[in-house]
């Protein structure tokens, strides 16, 4: 008997998926699939074979079970706003979860909500805001990104400096494992003994299964919020002031840094926030809590800024001014589209005391390679986002950009940092995993993944390089996807600017 051809097999799988979710929710024509061939990091392109969009919990389980039965690898995907190439499917099936967007229950008194994975972060926040509550993690893509994607990446955002990342705000999840089995992780109503499987699942980048519902912790809205903009004529001064604020013990709700090139790009764009164009750095600092306490902290922070060389410290007078100051920060990556068609963004984290030193190093590296590095980042956490706008169609420029980015990452690693603070490893940073973890750690991660997904079919070829995994050498799907394990760090493929 002859093997069915790839296209016959694809048609048959598509038809069976369509039986579950309906024909209009399965895409298999290459032109239709183009939309799903990248995420928020446009340097990588991978074309999925099929995209399927279940519309309910039951359909999701049925889809995952069918894929298990057929032993087919797949990639769970939320809104595709990720910045690590993590949601890309290389000729395998994308399971898109954006149709699962119900807020299933809301418990105001106990400050928790249970939502489906496709609920958009900002929608949840708009839903609970009138009740005096908020969902704290606020990635810059909050207007589009989903809670399921936030779980996969253990997403952060500016306000996680004070409030913590996704991990700190999730009570429980129902998950369908790649085998099709449905399990509860954590506890909706209390605290549970045993291994923290919920903690292990959060940040597993789609490799451990698909969340069907998530019970999140809601936080009471702070009584008072004050937003300050401090501007500096020296990057170094701003960096030292950042370290000084952290060392003072005050925990701002957010402490964001934008350098001169970023300020000017933002001010040239439709997101202009009124940042002083001649500044070499601004710090956007937010303090929140009880009014009297916030005002006292504000004076301390203002003093640290002025003593540290700030030209001016401006306090937003009202919500409109505050929103404007924030818009410039949150849309900064989008504004970079004005500089060049493509953008590469890093996510390294460094010890906060090393900030002045690292920013000097980044500057030296950018000069050496003749590239323009813009720095816009979560300074309070030491979470850098150096980014370079460039044209991927220019091979020579791409090479220089790539070299500069590699040197910047290595400098951050040498400073005792991490390769990613909130974007995840995905495809993009897999090549650096061996620089920060010994083989034993990578193997322990592989072993954990194998428990959740013995066939290694959920988001294969991501996070941990296959060759780090002792027991996977003989696994069929590992071999099949090994081509994706060492990605070209900067694929010179035509792409689009980051849209967030």
């Amino acid at each position: 008997m002859t093997q069915p051809s790839a296209s016959t097999q694809r048609a048959s799988v598509s038809a069976r998926l369509a039986d579950i979710v309906g024909e209009r929710h399965v895409l298999s024509r290459p032109s239709e699939l183009l939309v799903y061939n990248s995420d928020g990091l446009p340097g990588y392109r991978r074309q999925p074979s099929i995209a399927v969009f279940p519309g309910s919990r039951e359909e999701t389980i049925a889809v995952v079970r069918l894929l298990a039965e057929e032993e087919l690898p797949f990639v769970p995907r939320g809104a595709g706003t990720g910045l690590s190439g993590g949601a890309l499917a290389d000729d395998i099936i994308v399971v898109g979860l954006h149709r699962l967007k119900k807020i299933l229950s809301l418990d105001i008194d106990n400050r928790r909500a249970t939502v489906e994975p496709g609920v958009v972060n900002l929608r949840l926040n708009r839903h609970v805001a009138p009740l005096g509550l908020l969902y704290a993690p606020d990635p810059s893509s909050e207007a589009a990104c989903t809670i399921g994607g936030n779980i996969a990446e253990n997403a952060g955002g500016p306000h996680c400096l004070k409030y913590g990342v996704t991990l700190n705000h999730v009570h429980a999840m129902t998950v369908v494992l790649p085998s099709g089995e449905v399990v509860e992780l954590g506890s909706r109503t209390g605290e549970r003994d045993g291994y923290d499987l919920r903690g292990a699942f959060i940040g597993s980048e789609g490799c451990f299964g698909v969340a069907l519902d998530v019970t999140v912790r809601l936080t009471p809205k702070p009584q008072t919020v004050r937003t300050l903009l401090a501007d500096f004529t020296s990057v170094d001064d701003a960096a030292r002031v950042t370290s000084a604020i952290i060392a003072s013990g005050i925990v701002p709700a957010a402490l964001e840094f934008m350098d001169g090139p970023t300020i000017r790009v933002v001010e040239d764009s439709i997101y202009a926030a009124g940042y002083p164009r001649d500044a070499e750095a601004v710090l956007l600092i937010e303090l929140d809590g009880i009014e009297a306490g916030v005002d006292a902290d504000l004076e301390v922070v203002r003093r640290i800024c002025l003593d540290g060389g700030a030209r001016n410290v401006k306090v937003a007078r009202d919500d409109i001014e505050r929103a404007k100051l924030w818009q410039g920060r949150k849309k900064a990556f989008g504004a970079m589209g004005r500089l060049a068609p493509h953008l590469i963004v890093q996510d390294a984290v460094i010890p906060r005391t090393k900030l002045p030193e690292i920013l000097q190093t980044i500057h030296a590296i950018s000069e050496k390679h003749g590239v323009l590095v813009c720095n816009v980042f979560h300074a309070g956490d030491g979470n850098l986002h150096p980014n370079i706008a460039y044209s991927a169609d220019n091979a020579e420029e791409s090479k220089r950009v790539h070299k500069a980015m590699t040197e910047i990452m290595n400098a951050c690693i040498d400073a005792g940092g991490s390769i990613t603070g909130e974007h995840g490893v995905g495809l993009d940073k897999m090549g650096y995993m061996e620089s920060i973890f010994p083989a034993s750690s990578l193997n322990a991660m592989c072993e954990l993944r194998s428990v959740f997904d013995p066939g290694r079919r959920s988001n294969p070829g991501k996070v941990v390089p296959v060759h780090s995994c002792k027991e996977w050498h003989g696994v069929k799907s590992a071999r099949e996807t090994s081509a994706a394990t060492v990605p070209p760090p900067l694929a010179a493929e035509p792409s689009r600017p980051v849209a967030q």
Binding site: V165, L167, E191, G249, V251, R352, T353, D381
Partner: protein, 377 residues
């Protein structure tokens, strides 16, 4: 004891198939947990702060370092680790993470999982594994730090821990609020505090505990307000609108932790905060000699400690009437922390019997030599 020595001990145990009992300062040996081990691996001598960068508010210590030593070192820079598990400060950071032990500050500053940045452990095959890092934000790779937290030494021997510190508050004051009036009135006071305050700690204490602490004859709420002076003053004003607080020495927290920590039996019951608040007044007023009840309404956790006063007063599941909590919508989780050894087999089924937990145990400790039985496995 060094990491190398731990590796050597684990290798030897693998070769001879000798199960190990892992401990820090031996605090938990009194928990009666049914560990089947022939040899004890103590991390107590593996102590000391190995890296402390005050400007980064991060600290790395060997697993056998006592909480007291960490607090002492941090205090030199006006910082602290806001982790106050029940028991004494002589407990080690390794054991605190391994058992995920938390105290009254956890509703504000987080559980051990929330304060942990990274760790090093030796798995059951003798491999040295590093998880997480030393920076305050990190999503590189799968989260082995959270996995090890609360795993009671069954997945690996924790040898080093990195935690996040905070600046000591400029003002840190403690108030006692007697809970008087009808049960309904008490519940409304508790609820008002839950809604209106953002204290460092809020604990409701049953009559037996109150008496042992010399705080009177009525159930009370202990409220710890911290922050800058303005915050504490504003919170105190808000508290005074609800009830009549009286200031007491903050040493009461240490006394409470040590008192509770000395109990041979501790059960932890958790539920939704409002459900806990609704039943708190009745439970706190209930007097069972030798049974100490404390409730953290924000975490939704009640701790019932027994056997402190008389050797023989062992805890049974029916000592305190939990029916109000168990009935109705939603569930209640019951965790047994410490019990007389003979009771374990009766009350505690394995908490790691599900296929995922079993798979993880098998991967990390294939020869079942690390604390076998401690989680009822």
């Amino acid at each position: 004891m060094t990491t190398e020595a731990v590796v050597a001990t684990v290798h030897e145990s693998v070769d001879t198939r000798t199960p190990l009992r892992i401990c820090g300062n031996s605090t938990w040996l009194g928990a009666g947990r049914p560990v089947r081990a022939d040899k004890t691996l103590s991390l107590q001598s593996d102590s000391g702060v190995t890296e402390y960068v005050p400007g980064d508010l991060t600290l790395t210590a060997r697993a056998g370092t006592s909480l007291a030593e960490i607090q002492h070192v941090a205090k030199g820079n006006d910082q602290w680790l806001p982790l106050d598990p029940y028991g004494s400060e002589s407990g080690t950071i390794g054991a605190t993470i391994a058992t995920a032990s938390a105290g009254p500050l956890s509703a504000t500053f987080g559980l051990p999982r929330d304060l942990l940045l990274g760790l090093q452990f030796v798995n059951g095959s003798g491999d040295v594994v590093r998880a997480g890092g030393k920076v305050v934000k990190n999503v590189a790779g799968f989260d082995l730090s959270r996995l090890l937290t609360g795993s009671w030494g069954t997945l690996g021997v924790i040898t080093e821990v990195t935690v996040r510190l905070y600046a000591r508050p400029r003002s840190d004051r403690t108030f006692v609020v007697p809970l008087t009036g009808s049960l309904v009135e008490q519940a409304s006071v508790i609820q008002a505090m839950y809604v209106a305050l953002s204290p460092f700690a809020l604990q409701l204490l049953g009559v037996t505990v109150v008496r042992a602490l010399g705080l009177g004859e009525l159930p009370v709420a202990l409220v710890r307000l911290g922050g800058n002076e303005a915050v504490v003053d504003a919170q105190l004003k808000a508290l005074a609108k609800i009830t009549k607080p009286g200031e007491i020495e903050s040493e009461v927290w240490g006394t409470l932790r040590e008192l509770e920590g000395s109990a041979p039996s501790v059960i932890r019951i958790s539920s939704m905060p409002m459900r806990m608040i609704g039943t708190a007044a009745r439970i706190l007023a209930e007097e069972v000699p030798g049974v100490y009840t404390t409730i953290d309404p924000r975490r939704g956790v009640m701790r019932v400690a027994a056997g402190i006063e008389s050797e023989g007063s062992e805890i049974e599941t029916d000592v305190v009437n939990f029916d109000d909590l168990k009935s109705g919508e939603g569930s209640t989780e019951i965790i047994f922390e410490k019990l007389p050894a003979e009771l374990w087999s009766r009350v505690s089924p394995s908490v790691v019997a599900d296929p995922l937990s079993r798979g993880i145990k098998k991967a990390y400790d294939p020869f079942n030599i690390l604390n076998p039985g401690i989680l009822g496995d």
